[in-house]
Amino acid sequence: MELYNYMGYELIEKIINKEITVSDLIQSTFDRIEATDNLLHSFINLSKDKALKKAKEYDIKIQKGKKVGKLCGLPLANKDLICLKGFPTTCCSKILKGYHPPYNAFVIERLVEQEGAIHIGNTNMDEFAMGSSTENSCYGPTFNPWDISRVPGGSSGGSAASIASGQTILALGSDTGGSIRCPASFCGVVGLKPTYGRISRYGLVAFANSLDQIGSITKCVYDSALLLEIMAGKDPLDSTSVNIKVDKYTAELKKSIDKKILGVPEEFFGEGVNNEVKSSVKNSIKKLESLGGTTVEVTIPHLEYTVATYYLLCMSEASSNLARYDGLRYGKMSQNLKGDVYDVFSRTRNEGLGTEVKRRIFLGTYALSAGYYDMYYIKALKVRTLIKKDFQEAYKKCDFIICPTMPSTAFKIGEKVDDPLQMYMDDVLTCPVNLAGLPAITIPCGFDSNDLPIGFQIIGNYFDEKGILNIGYQLEQELNIYRKTVPAIK
């Protein structure tokens, strides 16, 4: 078996047992990238020389019996909006071309500096994480490894595609309305979006800061638990990170799920959800029942308002968060410096930002403007509170909520680019989780008739990552499809 087909925790064992070296692993990673990325385009920037050098260092350390951290030199793909010191971080936007952050994000400090993951490159994404297909990147789209005529989902499409195709073992993503879970679902891998505040956002370039959360994309639930153990915790540099005990997630995976109450919200199986998706998810629900779980019906009555609410809020926040890109201090300023400072700012932003980003800035600016603020922004905040309450009510009756991750499987490249509303509707099952600030995981639960993966979503109560990882792991082992590899990429 090729090294890239192993799970992360298996490779750590092999490295510790000296069956393979870190250099072997990193070299095979780059070999795989070189063989496939001209077709997939998961990566936009690689760090090959540095990664191989680091691998050698770790091998020497391991030889000498020294510690190299829990991640033992596993390759890590970073989404292009998490700051990495000295490495180009552009959010896949022209306006940030040439920008090298002078500092590491909190998660990079933890994973790379403390626990020995090796950064191999940055992955493609929708510009500033605005999109559900990775088609809105200034570098062009990423293609789905299961079918390269289709999108990988978004916005963390590069990370999901790289995991699914074995180009890396670990990947980071960020999830504002589904940006980890959507591509993980479309690419048939595991995507975890933790509770808002569970992982520090320090160094995560903001799209909508009250909704953004860093998470992981991995091949299996165990790897996901391992990464969360390292990344979770209070960071003094992020006031919204929470000081709540971090569980030993990997140790809890094998616990029985007997007597766990699983809530099934009928609204998440509505008309818009594809029948093949529904039946695959229902099949998995039966498996969970067979493992001892009890299902109950729950209801999220305000689900129909979530997409509108989500887009009003994320656009409003984005209009402010993206105001700093004026080309003055970093990034790309317009070459044409005619006129006053406002003219240059406008020209720089007009040239540097993509269509979807501009659309969201316009709409967000409008929603926050005098005279419209109460009607749109304040109203959306109120609905957000109602949605939170819906979930709180539901959790009085159940321990977890289970449902599909996406209403469909991966769609064709170009299919929805001209219809933003259609694209926005794809977030209907993921964005309520961000509005409520809850944790959720998606795991592959089957394939449709086109052999495209289907995602199963488990939504937990606040800070119950332990619980959703446990359910996810049990289902994953029961379904036993997680080792299925993508078809040959040609």
Binding site: Y202, L204, A323
Partner: protein
């Protein structure tokens, strides 16, 4: 048309840097940026690099509570920040983290007042609120903003904590504004939150209107001293427009301190909609009443309390004590001085106050210095007063010693150095007075009709001796000589 003061409405927004903080409002960069190499006191947070997040400096809360208590404000038990969105090169994030008291927001503290004294009247200046915000970067121009070929940006100031004090529009003259700012400056100094002597530590925006007409907002008044001047100018400008039968419009104007006029800003900036909304990178901060009590108990004596105490303890007049305590350093100097000599009593207390408030203040003003920058000690002034009391020198001589005292000489050394001491030798005084009388026969003729001619003659004697003659003896001798002379006239 004539407009009375009670028809003028002025509201002030005063931005004060909390210069006594060690670090900036949202990051750990040093707050002390003055005189530093540009763009060296910066980090990802205060230059708003992508991915950076603000964290509130907890010390800010204590300092803000001190000021809120001293200004009699109602401190809100919870506060949070808002974003004020606008584009400007000094604003690295495209928004300023500030506070807002609408749209569900709350200021740090609401209401409050301070009492001013003007022409023997007292008036309460009512405050609307005080709130916290971050300072933008500093823009540097060559010469004036209008003619400079470039704009340089120094982010060292970016993120320094400002506290904004917003008054109600209850100020009815530039003089009242001046007194209010004097009082505010004094309170800030006593609370120890800021050193307002530092350049750029204060910025004022003023709303000015004539009752019944649209107001203008004057921005960019960069010192307390400029406020009175800017207000005077703006009131005259508005009155002149009305005189000419023209209409006043609501507008934002810029104080040009070089030309000393207000100029209109471009309309682009007038139509600004700041799109305030909550800053969700920061969580609401709770302030419990125990903490407020703790800060209150540690609060030093405030100027108004000190003024009352000075009146009691040193039997000063209300006017004297009010003015003496305004500058804490001055009042501290006073107390140290008068306490150091147990023989001091009401008379000396008053004299000490007079010397400080008159001759020493005048010297400080003329030399543009504050008392700590000079070498005079409280003891020096005690010695000076005692030297007069003991007859060693005259008041005139004492006055002439002031410039030397300010640079560190003591009274004893000055008497030796200058040889100036009070002359009470009757023979000598007689000689001088006779000479003066001979030289000023015209004044003598006046003497009968105008007794004040005597003062003129004493002045002449003093001038001749550089103020060293004992003033009482001189007066006696002169009177005697003059009355003899008059008798002679009458006989002849």
């Amino acid at each position: 048309m004539s407009i009375q003061n009670n028809e003028i409405m002025i509201g002030l927004e005063i931005h004060i840097q909390l210069t006594n903080l060690k670090t900036k409002l949202f990051c750990s960069c040093s707050n002390d940026y003055r005189g530093t190499e540009p763009n060296t006191h910066v980090c990802p947070i205060c230059i708003g690099l992508p991915g950076s997040l603000p964290v509130v400096n907890k010390k800010v809360i204590e300092l803000a509570i001190r000021l809120a208590l001293a200004l009699d404000c109602k401190i809100n038990n919870q506060f949070w920040f808002f974003r004020k969105n606008y584009f400007y090169p000094d604003l690295p994030k495209g928004f300023q983290i500030s506070q807002y008291n609408k749209a569900g927001g709350k200021a740090f503290a609401d209401g409050g007042k301070t009492t001013i004294r003007l022409n023997n009247h007292k008036k309460d200046i009512i405050l609307n609120r005080i709130h916290l915000e971050e300072d933008p970067a500093r823009l540097v121009h060559k010469g004036s903003i209008a003619t400079s070929p470039f704009t340089l940006i120094d982010y060292n100031r970016s993120g320094v904590c400002l506290i904004e004090i917003v008054s109600e529009p209850v100020i009815s003259s530039p003089e009242e504004a001046r007194e209010f700012l004097k009082q505010l400056k004094s309170i800030v100094q006593y609370t120890g939150i800021s050193n307002l002597e530092l350049e750029g530590s204060v910025r004022v925006d003023a709303n000015i209107s004539i009752k019944g007409y649209d107001r203008s907002e004057v921005k960019n008044i960069n010192s307390f001293k400029e406020v009175e001047r800017a207000l005077r100018h703006e009131i005259i400008r508005q009155k002149n427009i009305l005189k000419r039968g023209k209409k006043l419009i609501q507008e934002t104007r810029h104080w040009d301190d070089k030309r000393r006029i207000t100029i209109p800003l471009r309309t682009k900036e007038l139509e600004e909609d700041y799109r305030y909304f909550p800053e969700q990178d920061l969580v609401p901060i709770e302030i419990n009443s125990d903490f407020i009590q703790k800060v209150k108990s540690e609060l030093p004596e405030m100027p108004n309390e000190r003024s009352v105490r000075f009146r009691k303890e040193y039997r000063l007049t209300e006017f004297d004590s009010y003015n003496l305590v305004l500058d804490k350093n001055f009042a501290d100097f006073y107390e140290e001085g008068v306490k150091s000599d147990p023989s001091f009593d009401s008379e000396e207390y008053k004299l000490y106050c007079n010397w400080l408030m008159n001759d020493i203040s005048r010297w400080l003003n003329n030399n543009n210095k504050i008392i700590q920058e000079t070498k005079i000690t409280p003891k020096h002034l005690v010695d000076l007063i005692n030297a007069i009391k003991d007859g060693k020198i005259t008041g005139k001589i004492a006055k002439s010693f002031i410039p030397d005292l300010m640079v560190g000489f003591n009274v004893k050394a000055l008497i030796e150095k200058t040889g100036k001491r009070r002359i009470s030798d009757k023979e000598y005084i007689l000689k001088i007075t006779k000479e003066v009388i001979t030289d000023n026969l015209d004044i003598i003729r006046d003497f009968e009709k105008n007794p004040r001619a005597l003062e003129a003659l004493i002045g002449k004697c003093m001038k001749k001796t550089k103020g060293r003659l004992d003033p009482e003896l001189t007066r006696e001798i002169l009177l005697e000589l003059l009355s003899n002379k008059i008798k002679k006239y009458k006989k002849s």
